[in-house]
Amino acid sequence: MKKVIGLLTAVGLLTAPLANAETVTVSGSTSVAHVMEVLAENYQNKAQKSVEVQSTGSSAGIRAAKEGTSMLGMSSRNIKDNELNSEIKEVVIARDGIAAAVNKANPVKDLTQQQISKIYRGEITNWSEVSGEARPIVVVTRENGSGTRGAFEEIMDLQRTVNGHKVTAITPTAQVGNGNGMIKTIVANNPYAIGYISLGSVDDSLQALSVNGVAASDENIAAGDYHIARPFILLVNNKPHPSAQSFVDFIMSNDGQSIIAEQGYIRVQ
């Protein structure tokens, strides 16, 4: 056993410097990194080239791509003009959409982004304040650490700082369900509940709210009209390393896009 490990290590040490030149380095957004790791694994199996994914956060990813410390940068937010330079371009590889959903019996069909945010902060507590019935709102949220909750908090500005840590601003009295299915069951059974689930899991049992008058649909997200959504952006150098370019090609291919859809995100091709 020891001999085998030793041999493997030796082989690893020998080949590591050779592989390094070919290794695609990707760094940035933690949310994109989740799907990127799956993509990387599939690409490695298929093309026998290694990909190194580091989750450092969107801002760090943008900086790394600009400075060339990694071949590709990942961002899960729109990039400001002053963060870009002429050497890198943005490639949207997927979109992540979240639907705010209510019970089918609820007459409220449309809320503004601000109203939803206030409901989750616990500032609006009755449906009558948003032109619904005079009944208390039952706020339903996902558990701490869930990617959907993270994205929802980020987009809806539901974060605050306590002791130097970024924490949730969602009211602690909100009901917590683990998983999209749980949220769906609660909302589908309670006429006064509001919850949020990833757009892919919306079905007939509940109704997805329009936000700012725009219906929650893949098309509206692709057009950029529906706001509880975010793009997954890859930052690529204008003259990319050939191995980086072939990885990007893989992501944009039908195979890569299918993996993205399997992970619950919206494909762009």
Binding site: G147, V162, P172, I186
Partner: protein, 301 residues
């Protein structure tokens, strides 16, 4: 000359003994190692939970961790609301479930005609075999809406719903063990009471139940352990809000629910804090078993 013969005889006599000894030792070791599986598991789990949980406690501070009212990872780790929720839901389940269970046990052991006992007992035993996720779903679809209508509140995912589900869940444990301990009493107790002119019900209440006290207390303790450790059903019906509950008609999160809900995503100190929640839960169970040992220190018979 003499000694040699003695030794020879001794040797002859010892031979079969030697083979038996090996068997004896083997079975001794077999029994010992079986007994050690449980002990080793407890030790390993205890070591593991403490090892993983202590970093969070040392970072947040024991007092802040146990008495903190806000659960806001990664900034604040206070589990007081969850301790309160666990205690209230378990106490409630015991208050509702235990009397029903003990009365059922007495009914099965003493009062019920055989044909009726043959219907009730399998039903109770079946209750024990139902997986907790089914209890949770039953609670979510039947009890939660019923509480909404009954109390006219917007959401029935409340502590009360949890208490009712837990009360039903502890029934089979408490009933089965209580019934067994009542049946195990020597018939002389009942015969003596009846011979002194006591009525049937009087002899059950004043003689049989007190005599079976230690068995019934064990049943209650196992019921409490089941209630405090229940996770899946509770996650489904209690709403899991990490805020301090103001009444029985508000959602709350128990210690077990906290661990189960957040473990899949938690990293670093957050994950460690969840293990630390496990330490608190372990302490509860140790307290519970300790008090049972104390209460049962004098056997009733």
């Amino acid at each position: 000359m003499n000694t040699i013969t003695k030794a020879q005889i001794k040797g002859l006599q010892l031979e079969p003994n030697k083979a038996i000894d090996m068997k004896e030792i083997f079975f001794h070791l077999l029994f010992l190692s079986s007994a050690m599986v449980g002990v080793l598991s407890v030790c390993t789990i205890g070591w593991f939970v403490f090892n993983e949980g202590l970093p969070a406690i040392s970072e947040a501070g024991v007092v802040e961790f146990i008495t903190g009212k806000e659960w806001l990872p990664p900034a604040l780790y206070g589990i007081l609301p969850m301790i309160v929720a666990s205690i209230i839901s378990t106490t409630g389940a015991v208050i509702i479930g235990v009397p029903i269970a003990i009365l059922t046990a007495v009914f099965l052991a003493e009062i019920a005609p055989k044909w009726l006992a043959d219907i009730v007992r399998p039903a109770v035993e079946l209750l024990a075999g139902i997986p907790s996720v089914v209890y949770g779903f039953f609670g979510l679809v039947i009890i939660v809406p019923a509480i909404e209508t009954l109390f006219n509140i917007p959401a029935g995912n409340t502590i009360l719903a949890g208490i009712i589900v837990l009360a039903i869940m502890i029934l089979p444990t408490v009933i089965t063990i209580s019934e067994t301990s009542i049946r195990a009493l020597p018939p002389i107790y009942k015969e003596g009471a009846l011979a002194l002119g006591a009525s049937h019900i009087y002899s059950v209440c004043k003689v049989l139940i007190p005599a079976a006290k230690s068995g019934i207390l064990t049943a209650v303790a196992l019921g409490v352990a089941r209630a405090i450790g229940e996770t899946m059903a509770i996650i489904m019906v209690m709403g899991n809000a990490p805020a301090m509950p103001g009444s029985l008609l508000e959602p709350a999160r128990t210690l077990t629910a906290n661990i189960a809900m957040e473990m899949s995503y938690a990293t670093g100190v957050h994950a460690s804090a969840l293990y630390a929640t496990g330490i608190v839960l372990l302490a509860f169970i140790v307290l519970l078993n300790g008090s049972l040992l104390y209460l049962n220190r004098k056997r009733a018979y």
